[in-house]
Chain length 93, copies 4
């Protein structure tokens, strides 16, 4: 069980949709579609991926981090450090 | 023919790899893998998508925009405006 | 007292440096310096601001959120929700 | 003369406003204001900086790059390469 397990189907559905967008991008390039239209599609896929990240991170803070903090000790500190590093990677990507 | 047509195979290969990463993310969620590991994978896929964007945009400026500018007239202005809008979408996504 | 209070001087020093970068940008524009050099400076100031954000957020999770979670109840949930929204704003800016 | 010279006053005014936001952030930290409110202000300043970047880049493409391309030769290629690198820095910051 993970923080996101309750919404597993939602996340899988969103990722399948993103997979479809990436396949669509391959078709667009194969068909020599206009660069700007391809860029617009990539922006849409990037936003969709970001939104999956933000959802998972929220669940992670709500469940995994909160539980570790409630239990206290070193594990809590480690969980927060790990979450902060994941946020930094998200912000910088 | 598009600005990116010479590197079509390179872009298709990179997108197929990103498609594989998105499928990998679905497997990770299906297997209840650890949230932070999933976030790390999403950051990697996002960076790979961004890098495809930056490559396509560079080709677009080099070829499509440069040609329109060389020909002059309203088409040139329109191409630059369109490129600026695509850049804004990239920066904000 | 806030999560960041122990490092107040560090954050103030970093913000004063960023203020100096913004004043430097005004001088560059006033002196008609080259666009690309100005853009490079803006990227540097943006990264410095982002790094202040990530530091404050880490302190916030470590102190404010962790305390609220340890106390339990609705306040904890509210703190996590608030933090997630702040992260979303950071990622999207 | 630069691409942005016609709008110099507009850019200077926007940067002075951003400078004021950065000074406001210092006051907020000095007054121990709430972390999340500070993060909201940093997001606003970051967006304002980004918007200055996008404006300058648009002017740069419209004037400097377009002129170099119209003149042709190696200078044009160099200008496009330089612009693409600046865009990559913006997207990744």
């Amino acid at each position: 069980m993970r923080g996101y397990s309750g919404d597993k189907d939602v996340y899988l559905k969103r990722l399948r949709r993103i997979e479809g967008q990436i396949r669509g991008l391959q078709r667009m390039i194969d068909d020599d579609e206009y660069c700007i239209d391809i860029l617009t599609q990539i922006s849409a896929a990037t936003k969709a991926l970001q939104s999956v990240s933000l959802g998972l991170l929220d669940e992670h803070l709500k469940h995994c981090v909160a539980e570790a903090v409630a239990e206290g000790g070193d594990a809590a500190e480690e969980k927060v450090r790990e979450a902060s590093e994941a946020i930094a990677r998200l912000v910088r990507s």
